[in-house]
């Protein structure tokens, strides 16, 4: 039997570690599970950063609060990847540059969408979906599975 049989390289997992034990920005993922798309905003200088931080990238304050981001946006550019998509993703892999508000434009995956279906100017909305659960060492050799989610967008 191989020494790595049955082992899963969690630190090489493609999804981020989301639990309170592993990251200080765990509220992002907790909020995501409730359908909220959030980030941190600085109470001292007012800078809203994305992705969320533990230190304000503008004034370096740690006095941050969680704020909601728009759940809908407008498509500016569409890309359709026909070959060579990373493992875990299906062909075609569709991405779009999505304007959420005047401060934030994201380049993100658009799920549940066929080739040629998504056009510039379309409205898209946030979609939260389950991803591989995280195996974490428990007591007496037990492995506990932690639920995880991530986000993409789909046609509104």
């Amino acid at each position: 039997m191989s020494i790595v049989e049955g082992k899963y390289s969690v630190t090489m997992d493609m999804w981020p570690l989301q639990s309170k034990e592993m990251t200080r920005i765990y509220p992002f993922y907790d909020n995501l599970k409730e359908g909220r798309f959030t980030t941190t905003s600085c109470r001292d200088c007012g800078t809203r950063a994305f992705p969320p931080r533990v230190v304000c990238p503008e004034c370096l304050s740690e006095n941050l609060e969680w704020v909601d981001l728009p759940l809908k946006g407008r498509v500016l550019i569409v890309t359709e990847e026909e070959v060579g998509v990373p493992v875990g993703f299906e062909t075609p892999l569709i991405h779009a540059m999505i304007k959420l508000d005047d401060q934030l434009t994201v380049f993100a995956r658009v799920m549940n969408c066929k080739m040629g279906e998504l056009k510039e100017g379309d409205e898209v909305k946030l979609v939260v979906y389950p991803v591989d659960p995280l195996p974490v060492d428990g007591k007496k050799g037990a492995i506990n599975l932690q639920e995880r989610v991530f986000y993409a967008f789909e046609k509104a």
Partner: protein, 390 residues
């Protein structure tokens, strides 16, 4: 401050290699010493090793001492690894230049490479998820760069009227330039029709608009001018100026997709230190990871006006006989792109061009430029080399 010269350079064969990471580092180091037999492994007092995927694809951290031992180099001034993904090699050269200039080392080898063809082909694509912002862009399936450059190309086409034919002309030119490059991944010319009719990767990027996955390594040796004068009989090539800038990392924080502001800052720094302008550059190796990249680089490096990159390649201005021949050894599109080695390969080609002994020589070249971009178009690195000191 001392002056810094490039005194030797060489590379392994690049492509899909039946060789390990450390095999190729040895081949590249040997090639650099063989290129200028006046210099031996005993002359090197500093070693800077570049590799982006060494942990992921070869399960080896602490790579610099492995390479030093493999090549019989016993560095007493510096022995470490640098990493800036696609600009790893040129970052190593910038650091070596600074160390020599300041007197911290006299003769430094900068050597970089990657082993990317692993037994399970999916792994390298999976590792790419760590090349962008893993938690925020990798999770959107954005590890592989074609979607990003498709968006860049679409925006450039919309704003400036750049055409798919003009994109294809970049790959036709660079494949032609790589024809006699025995160390490159491809020695095969393509026609405009082939490029235009190739299968789509992410439209408008088709097969020949994208550089391939590549195994390979390259090594370059820099020396303080006074050392260089007795280490080599070849014409001296000076590092005249360097610049590197980063304004963002994650896609959401990239302010302008079709004008690369950090490239302009890095170029301005390098030109200012070198005391030259874009008009003085006789030959350039720029980061043609995709055809659209070279078009934008010709603009943002100042070789032509903004938006004129398409007409510039169409008019042959980036070809031999034009204003500034670009990617004279084939570039990434023909040579391939082992991340840690690319910036070094560019430096070696400029060394040959300025000495006058390149395979495809730009007649009378005195000033050369290299440019690397890395990550989500996040960091730009520019170096200016000169046959003369000023």
């Amino acid at each position: 401050m001392r002056n810094v010269c490039v005194v030797a350079g060489g590379q392994s064969v690049w492509g899909m290699r039946q060789a390990s990471e450390r095999d190729m580092f040895q081949e590249a180091g040997k090639a650099a010493f063989a290129e200028n037999p006046a210099i031996t492994n005993k002359d090197v007092d500093g070693l800077i090793v570049g590799s982006a995927y060494t942990e992921r694809c070869s399960f080896q951290t602490h790579l610099a001492p492995v390479v030093a031992e493999s090549l019989g180099i016993k560095p007493v001034n510096i022995c470490c690894r640098v990493e800036l993904l696609c600009a790893t090699g040129s970052s190593g050269i910038i650091l070596a230049d600074a160390m020599i200039r300041s007197g911290k080392a006299d003769v430094v080898m900068v050597i970089g490479g990657e082993k990317l063809f692993t037994p399970q082909r999916w792994e390298v694509n999976y590792s790419e998820l760590a090349s962008v912002d893993h938690d925020w862009d990798g999770t959107q399936g954005l590890g592989l760069p074609p979607p990003v450059f498709s968006a860049v190309a679409q925006e450039h086409m919309k704003l400036y009227g750049t055409t798919e034919e003009q994109l294809a002309m970049v790959s036709v030119k660079n494949r032609r330039n790589g024809l006699n490059n025995k160390k490159g991944q491809y020695q095969e010319a393509i026609t405009l029709e082939q490029a235009m009719n190739a299968r789509a990767i992410v439209r408008p990027m088709k097969l020949f608009d994208c550089c391939p996955v590549t195994d390979g390594a390259a090594a370059i040796i820099l020396a303080a001018e006074e050392k260089a004068k007795y280490l080599t009989d070849k014409p001296l090539v000076y590092i005249r100026g360097t610049g590197q800038a980063t304004l963002h990392n994650m896609s959401a924080n990239m302010a302008n997709w079709s004008t690369w502001e950090s490239l302009k800052i890095a170029a301005k720094q390098a030109y200012a230190k070198a005391g030259v302008t874009a008009k003085d550059v006789n030959v350039a190796q720029t980061h043609d990871c995709f055809t659209i990249s070279e078009i934008i680089e010709t603009e943002d490096l100042g070789f032509c006006e903004k938006g004129e990159g398409g007409p510039f390649v169409q008019a042959g201005q980036s070809d031999f006989g034009g204003q500034v021949p670009i990617n004279t050894d084939g570039g990434l599109l023909s040579c391939g792109h082992p991340f840690g080695a690319t910036g070094i390969r560019q430096g070696i080609e400029i060394m040959h061009q300025l000495r006058g002994d390149a395979v495809r020589q730009v007649e009378g070249a005195r000033i050369g430029l290299t440019h690397n971009l890395s990550g989500f178009i996040a960091a730009h690195t520019v170096l200016i080399y000169g046959r003369d000191l000023a």
